[in-house]
């Protein structure tokens, strides 16, 4: 019975979020969303201009989170950003390169690169721009480091599921004096990135990337829904604490 109750509560949360998301999209048509400024995204937008004008390259590293694992949310957020960055940098001479530590993710990154290049610059797609660099965290990092050093890369986006090995990637980018925007859903990686990356994103800022690069109205609505749900959780925690204090729980 408890299992069914938990399932119903879960379903209720999902349905509430879905209804809110649809409602917020409709509301945003009347009053467009505006977000607080996050310096990392401002610098990323500026770097797009530099990539296009300077003929340099963007490197997107998607981590090693498998799509069938609980970390797939961060991985999918990375894929959305990759797709959008391919579009934004399509006017440049060199297409972005994507590295990943999971085979299925590497195939999806190739798909994102191919879709973007076919839509905007048909002759530029190269199968080796989407790379699987290793299947363990450290072999992945070791394989991705040459991509940062050797490909005329001026900006790096490290987004997805990483462990502490992400510091090696951030350090390689620092040696090349290139911009590094980095985000992970892993707490250890976030702490490591705070110290080592130039533009770290903390916590759920990882999931705000789509909204900040204009990936679609549902991305902006997602941020609003997350805010609403966060307030609901805060209220539930406070009410729960008060009820416990009063001896009702």
């Amino acid at each position: 019975m408890t299992g069914i109750l938990q399932g119903l509560v879960g379903l209720g949360i999902i349905l509430l979020s879905a209804v809110l998301m649809v409602g917020v999209v409709a509301w945003q048509r009347k009053s467009p969303a505006s977000f607080r400024e996050i310096p990392a995204f401002t610098r990323l937008r500026n770097s797009v201009g530099r990539i296009v004008e300077g003929g340099t390259r963007l490197h997107v590293s998607l981590g090693h989170g498998a799509l069938t694992s609980p970390q797939s949310g961060a991985t999918l957020a990375g894929l959305v950003l990759l797709g959008r960055m391919v579009e934004l940098t399509s006017g440049g001479d060199q297409p972005p390169i994507a590295t990943s530590g999971d085979a299925a993710l590497a195939i999806l990154s190739q798909d994102a690169l191919q879709t973007g290049s076919q839509a905007f610059a048909p002759r530029k797609y190269d199968l080796t721009n989407g790379r699987l660099t290793g299947l363990t965290p450290f072999s992945y990092a070791a394989g991705a480091i040459p991509a940062i050093h050797d490909n005329n890369v001026s900006s790096n986006v490290l987004i997805g599921n990483f462990g502490p090995e992400v510091a090696l990637l951030a350090e390689a980018a620092e040696q090349e004096n290139s911009l590094t925007m980095a985000a992970s859903d892993n707490l250890t990686a976030q702490a490591v990135l705070f110290a080592s990356a130039r533009e770290p994103l903390i916590g759920e800022e990882l999931f705000a990337t789509g909204a900040y690069v204009d990936a679609g109205p549902l991305h902006a609505a997602s941020l609003r829904v997350q805010d609403i749900m966060r307030w609901l959780i805060i209220i539930v925690i406070l009410v729960g604490a008060l009820l416990k204090l009063a001896g009702f729980l």
Binding site: I4, Q6, G73, Q110, T115, Q226
Partner: protein, 220 residues
């Protein structure tokens, strides 16, 4: 092309809903798997098999990347040559391991005496990298948050370490470190994890709505 995209979107939504339903209502009251639970297991098993094939495709891609490097004599082509030789050798050893016991032993030695030590040394390198990055943090980004971050790190490390001649520092290891790790760190970590969970929820919903299509077609 468009009908292919529509079909893949329909597939993704239907199977996404089925797997989600399996997570929510996958078990009967007596703890056994319900029909939805069994369906979810079946879909996930198929996904795991497909992921296995994806590994082969991924390795082929790795080989292509390095062959291209060698052919065009790019920087690091020597390392690429070593990678290709070792990749082919390990692959052959893996195939032969099922038939020749000596190959099986060599195959496991490859991991035990080459792969593991290299990964451990990279982990050791990480310590130096992080120490250097922490020192650079203040130079690059001198603000209150960076200072708090570094002071907290130093206090917790000092509380964990066993000092020469002194052993544990009673106040640091008995009071400061447990307080830091059990109160502010846990509170912050839970807040971040709640945010990550909400972000994952909305990301999943966008896929179920067919707005994000990382499996092919333009994201919407």
């Amino acid at each position: 092309m468009k009908s292919k995209s529509v079909l893949s979107t329909i597939f993704a939504i239907v199977f996404g809903v089925l797997v989600l339903a399996g997570y929510l209502f996958g078990k009967n009251a007596d703890g056994t798997l319900s029909l939805l639970g069994e369906l979810q297991q079946l879909i996930l098993n198929v996904a795991v098999i497909l992921a296995g094939f994806a590994v082969l495709v991924g390795i082929l891609n790795l080989l292509l990347v390095h062959l291209k490097k060698v052919r065009s004599k790019q920087k690091g082509a020597g390392y690429s040559t070593i990678l290709i030789i070792t990749l082919v050798a390990t692959f052959l050893l893996g195939l032969l391991a099922h038939y020749i016991p000596k190959a099986a032993s060599l195959f496991s030695d490859t991991f035990q005496f080459i792969q593991l030590p290299i990964e451990k040394s990279l982990m050791a390198l990480l310590v130096v990298t992080l120490a250097y990055a922490s020192m650079r943090l203040l130079r690059r980004n001198l603000n209150l948050v960076s200072v708090i971050f570094l002071i907290t790190t130093l206090l917790i490390m000092a509380g964990m370490a066993s000092w020469p001649f002194l052993g544990d520092l009673p106040f640091l290891s008995g009071v400061v470190r447990p307080f830091m790790t059990q109160v502010p760190v846990v509170a912050g970590a839970r807040g971040i994890l709640l945010g990550v969970a909400l972000g994952t929820l909305t990301t999943g919903l966008r896929i179920l709505f067919g707005s994000d299509r990382p499996y092919g077609g333009k994201d919407g």
